[in-house]
């Protein structure tokens, strides 16, 4: 079929999660891989090109699944790819130590009638478990090539491509594999339906006939929709026929067809195993079980889990601090260099204050993000992630979430963006959306500087308690949000928790690094662009219009001061006007100028315009401008406050003083902190939500968080006001 086709061969890797698919993919393709999303869904798609004996072969890594039902995005994606893109060979990666369950998916893949080879991976683990598999018998029984590999030792991986190429050629000559034989009655139904399909529909639509017939018996909504679309009339007749068959089988076996089909498949598998595999039983040491005796122990399990999480955060923030400083000084270096080499102009200001500052604000998080994703990859690749979900599910379930949501939620305390990307580990879309919408209420580290300044100024003695209370409020808001959404927009039965606890494995450094880099790259690519635009917008808003009516002529005063500083002073005058004094006056002048400029800029106008909205929650216009600028990144809130109150950012004490003088009360400070905690995290987060879910959810999140923030602040401020007036 493809013999003379100039198109490169295309092989698809399929298999269960934890079968070592990714390792084999990495071994086959090396670093030459492309990660993207499958069109229309947020399931990771990995592709790579290998050159094999002078031939280019495209390899696609299908999502890991246990079956091919139409009830999860991953499974639909996998089967649609095999059916529509018709890869030349499906390479089915099978966990040898878990043959029985793996064959369930394998047999369903065979029903798709594409050339398939079986790769029995982790052959060494199986051997240690006392499982002996006879590849020749297995190969004879199913009429397809079977090979052994040890993925993490790169054994037998070369053989995969050779065998696959051969199999593709054999199929082109008319070879077929064997399929599951169901009970006689079911086989009769399949034959009837297959015939009806052939009689009524084009072969292109109805093939593979056997598969479509089985899907009709399984009442597969997607397959049914496909036929209805082609011809509603013929489809209706077909469904009627299928219904008769289903009823007949139901009646004959006194059981649901689902159960009968699964029973038959597992029965068939049992038959194969009896022939092809022997298990020499007993008294092997199950290392994983022993590890789990400690790690999921009734008493030790949760403390150990919390310790791991603590260690992860320690690593992220303490280890991450060193490269962060380096990056920071690097950015400073570049910015200083540009400062000197570009003549002063508006463009220079844009480059320095807008673009460099914008890029700097993203890149500074890179070390944190790399470390965080490395830890997550470590948890996933060792198999600990499933245990974490096992331990925490009871807790998370009260908020309507899956146990696996715990880690993304926790990561939210670090930074919301990677936390949202980390929800990729969740299988159910509903769980993902819910977790994503709850995560922004986890108080990220960028919000901390705001709390430190405000709480430190107004609640000096109880600052710690207040900050702790804020974090707690965030968690509470998240839980309430979860409960609310579960009952309204994301209603419906919970996704089943049914989750494999894979054996612990020693992770491979290569895999960990690829994993980490893939996700971090996504962060950089998406965020870099958006943050940049956001930074430029905020910069423009705060720098225009240019014709500011300053109260005095700052420029001239600054100029004279600057020349005074630069011109060497005659020695007799030195005591009168020390240079340090001059510099201080100069800085004060510059600050005053910036203060006036910002207050008259667009952002100042917007802030003033929005004052009526913020008045009921006790936030003055300076603070509302700061909150607006916080959309880019919450750290900016503090620096904007500094600019607006005319103090230098390097002197937090001065800002505290200025804030106290500005008429802010402890109550309005508290109200503002609550607002900072709950309102839109930052543009980067909103964009991530958009990318990971949809535009609608991003907008929803934007509106929802703002509303919640305003209401909560209103409640705090007004209740506080009542108490103050009473007291």
């Amino acid at each position: 079929m493809h013999k003379d086709d100039p198109k490169p061969l295309c092989f698809a890797l399929a298999g269960n999660p934890n079968a070592g698919k990714t390792t084999i993919f990495n071994n086959l393709t090396g670093a030459r891989q492309k990660v993207s999303n499958w069109p229309g869904v947020t399931v990771e798609k990995k592709e790579g090109i290998v050159s094999h004996k002078g031939q280019d072969i495209k390899i696609v890594d299908l999502p890991g699944t246990y079956s091919l039902t139409p009830y999860s995005i991953e499974e639909i994606t996998a089967r649609d790819f095999i059916l529509q893109d018709r890869p030349d060979v499906v390479i089915n990666i099978i966990d040898s130590a878990n043959l029985e369950r793996s064959l369930y998916l394998a047999l369903q893949i065979l029903e798709l009638a594409q050339p398939t080879i079986f790769v029995l991976n982790m052959a060494d683990v199986a051997r240690n478990k006392g499982i002996k598999i006879d590849d020749r018998i297995l190969s004879d029984l199913l009429k397809l090539p079977v090979i052994f590999t040890v993925g993490n030792k790169n054994k037998g991986v070369d053989l995969i491509l050779d065998t696959a190429v051969e199999e593709a050629a054999a199929f082109a000559k008319g070879k077929t594999s064997r399929n599951v034989t169901y009970s006689r009655e079911i086989e009769e139904c399949i034959t009837t339906l297959e015939k009806a399909l052939l009689d009524n529909f084009e072969p292109s639509a109805s093939s593979p006939g056997r598969w479509n017939a089985i899907k009709l018996l399984e009442n597969d909504p997607l397959v049914k929709d496909k036929f209805t679309e082609l011809s509603p009339k013929k489809a209706a007749l077909l469904f009627e026929l299928a219904d008769t068959c289903i009823r007949r089988i139901d009646d004959l076996f006194q059981d649901d067809i689902d159960i009968i089909l699964t029973d038959d498949r597992y029965g068939f598998i049992e038959g194969i195993l009896k022939e092809a595999a022997t298990t020499s039983d007993r008294k092997r040491v199950d290392v994983s079980r022993n590890i789990d005796l400690v790690l999921t122990d009734r008493f030790l399990g949760i403390p150990i889990f919390l310790f791991f999480i603590w260690a992860m955060f320690q690593a992220t923030f303490t280890l991450g601090a060193y490269p962060m400083d380096m990056i920071d000084s690097g950015v400073m270096l570049v910015s200083n260099f540009l400062d000197q080499s570009i003549p002063p102009s508006l463009i220079k200001k844009l480059i320095l204050d807008g673009i460099i500052a914008g890029i700097g604000s993203v890149i500074i998080f890179l070390p944190n993000i790399l470390i965080l994703f490395f830890c997550i990859a470590l948890f996933e690749d060792t198999g600990y992630m499933a245990r974490a979900a096992f331990l925490m599910d009871r807790v998370m379930h009260t908020a309507g979430l899956h146990g696996k949501s715990f880690i993304p939620m926790l990561m939210g305390f670090g930074c919301n963006v990677p936390a949202i990307i980390a929800t990729k580990t969740l299988e159910s879309r509903k769980d993902r959306i819910l977790t994503i919408l709850m995560t922004p209420f986890m108080s990220c580290s960028a919000r901390l500087p705001v709390y430190i300044i405000l709480a430190g100024t107004f609640f000096t003695r109880h600052a710690g308690t207040v900050i702790f209370g804020l974090y707690f409020c965030g968690i509470l808001a998240a839980i309430l949000t979860g409960q609310l959404l579960r009952r309204t927009l994301l209603r419906g039965e919970d996704a089943p928790f049914v989750m494999e606890l894979p054996p612990y494995r020693i992770p491979m450094m290569k895999s960990l690094l690829i994993h980490m880099w893939d996700r971090s790259k996504m962060f950089l690519k998406k965020m870099g662009g958006v943050i940049l635009i956001g930074a430029i917008i905020i910069w423009t808003l705060s720098n225009f219009p240019r014709d500011v009516n300053y109260s005095t002529d700052f420029d001239r005063q600054i100029q004279t001061l600057e020349t005074r500083i630069q011109t060497p002073q005659p020695p007799e005058n030195q005591q009168e006007k020390p240079e340090a004094d001059l510099t201080r006056t100069l800085k004060a002048l510059q600050r005053q100028k910036a203060q006036e400029r910002v207050s008259q800029s667009f952002i100042g106008m917007i802030g003033k315009g929005m004052a009526p909205i913020f008045a009921p929650i006790g936030i003055d216009w300076q603070s509302s401008v700061a909150l607006l600028s916080g959309l880019v990144a919450k750290e900016i809130v503090v620096s904007t406050l500094g600019v607006l109150h005319g103090v230098d950012n390097d002197e937090p004490e001065a800002l505290k003083e200025a804030l106290q003088k500005s008429g802010m009360t402890p109550l309005s400070a508290l109200s503002m902190m609550v607002f900072v905690l709950l309102y839109i995290p930052c543009i980067a987060t909103v964009i991530t939500i958009w990318k990971e879910t949809s535009k609608r959810w991003a907008i929803f999140n934007f509106l929802y968080t703002t509303t919640v923030a305003w209401c909560a602040s209103f409640l705090v401020y007004q209740t506080g006001m009542i108490f103050t007036t009473m007291g």
Binding site: S67, Y71, N98, S183, T262, F390, D393, H397, V498, E500
Partner: protein
């Protein structure tokens, strides 16, 4: 019949206009549609007939009108096997009984004079005065019987059934193995016990044999003629294993799954993961907060929520704690 229908319509007009029942015209349309249809019709069948005649009426209205028709003796209402209510023409003075096929749902009308007279005799013997009676016989109609394959695979057999082996559908290897166990086609066997979906214990002559699931699927048997009349020996209560919900099992217990219920997605997921009938399950542990439960199935570890595990029934194999 036609005359009969004309007469019914006349009576309807007389009765209904006499009683001054509302919406007379539309109710008359319902009657007409109903009379056009023969056999046992449901409310929606009547709706279809009306639509064919270009009349669209509310389904509630139709149902309500049919109730009225029943009340005045134009139709009689019956429910077969929990299905939707069905209506048939009630021709006064005529009586018949029903046979209902549980497979295809066909309803046959029959009338047997000797049965009718016999019923009166029976009731009279009890000093019972019969006002009316209804007889519904459930079974399989001739057409369905023809289609029915008399052969079933052994794994579908019920405990206590007497069977004759008709075919062994297997490759040569398995054929040999089965024969070497002393099972041949034409042998008469009895099912001693059958665990749902699991192994079957059979008695072939003096021999007791255990047949695994894979093999039992391939042995085709035919119920022995005497099976329908066969009764268990007096006093010998059928051998039955105790069933527990998986969620009620303690850590360290082991059992064999006998039933998986629960809602669609969950059940499908459980089945796919290998939690199906006949599978051995070992309860490894409960999570520290007592919720998810960790199981060992088909040689791998899996966790379920306790609520999900409550949909799974397990036959106890050992209750003794297997200390690890």
């Amino acid at each position: 019949m036609i005359n009969n229908h004309e007469q019914e319509k006349k009576q309807f007009k007389r009765l209904f206009s006499h009683l001054g029942i509302d919406e007379f015209d539309r109710r008359f349309q319902v009657l007409e549609a109903f009379l056009k249809l023969e056999k046992h019709v449901t409310g929606s069948d009547i709706d279809l007939q009306l639509k064919e005649d270009g009349i669209i009426l509310d389904q509630d209205f139709i149902d309500q009108s049919m109730e009225l028709l029943c009340r005045f003796g134009f139709a009689s209402r019956m429910e077969f096997d929990h299905g939707p209510p069905r209506y048939e023409h009630r021709h006064l003075g005529l009586h018949h009984d029903h046979m209902i096929c549980t497979k295809c749902g066909t309803i046959l009308e029959f009338r047997d004079e000797s049965l009718e007279t016999h019923q009166i005799e029976v009731t009279r013997a009890y000093g019972f005065h019969m006002l009316q009676h209804k007889m519904e016989i459930y079974g399989i109609c001739a057409d369905c019987m023809k289609k029915r394959s008399p052969l079933v695979s052994l794994d579908k057999a019920k405990q206590g059934e007497q069977l004759i082996i008709r075919q062994i559908e297997a490759g040569r290897n398995l054929q040999m193995r089965v024969t070497s166990m002393g099972i041949r086609t034409g042998d008469r066997i009895e099912v001693v016990s059958a665990q749902a979906g699991g192994q079957v214990v059979i008695a072939a002559g003096e021999n007791r044999l255990i047949i695994g699931k894979g093999m039992s699927q391939k042995i085709m048997v035919e119920p022995h003629d005497s099976a329908a009349l066969h009764t268990a020996p007096e006093g010998a209560a059928p051998f039955k294993l105790r069933q527990t919900r998986l969620s009620d099992m303690k850590a360290g217990q082991e059992g064999i799954i006998s039933k998986v219920s629960g809602k669609g997605t969950l059940r499908r997921r459980l089945l796919e993961m290998g939690i199906n009938r006949g599978t051995r399950v070992y309860v490894e542990k409960y999570a520290p907060l007592r919720d998810p439960i960790e199981l060992v199935i088909k040689g791998y570890h899996i966790s379920l929520r306790v609520e999900e595990a409550s949909h799974i029934l397990v036959e106890d194999v050992n209750i003794a704690q297997r200390r690890s």
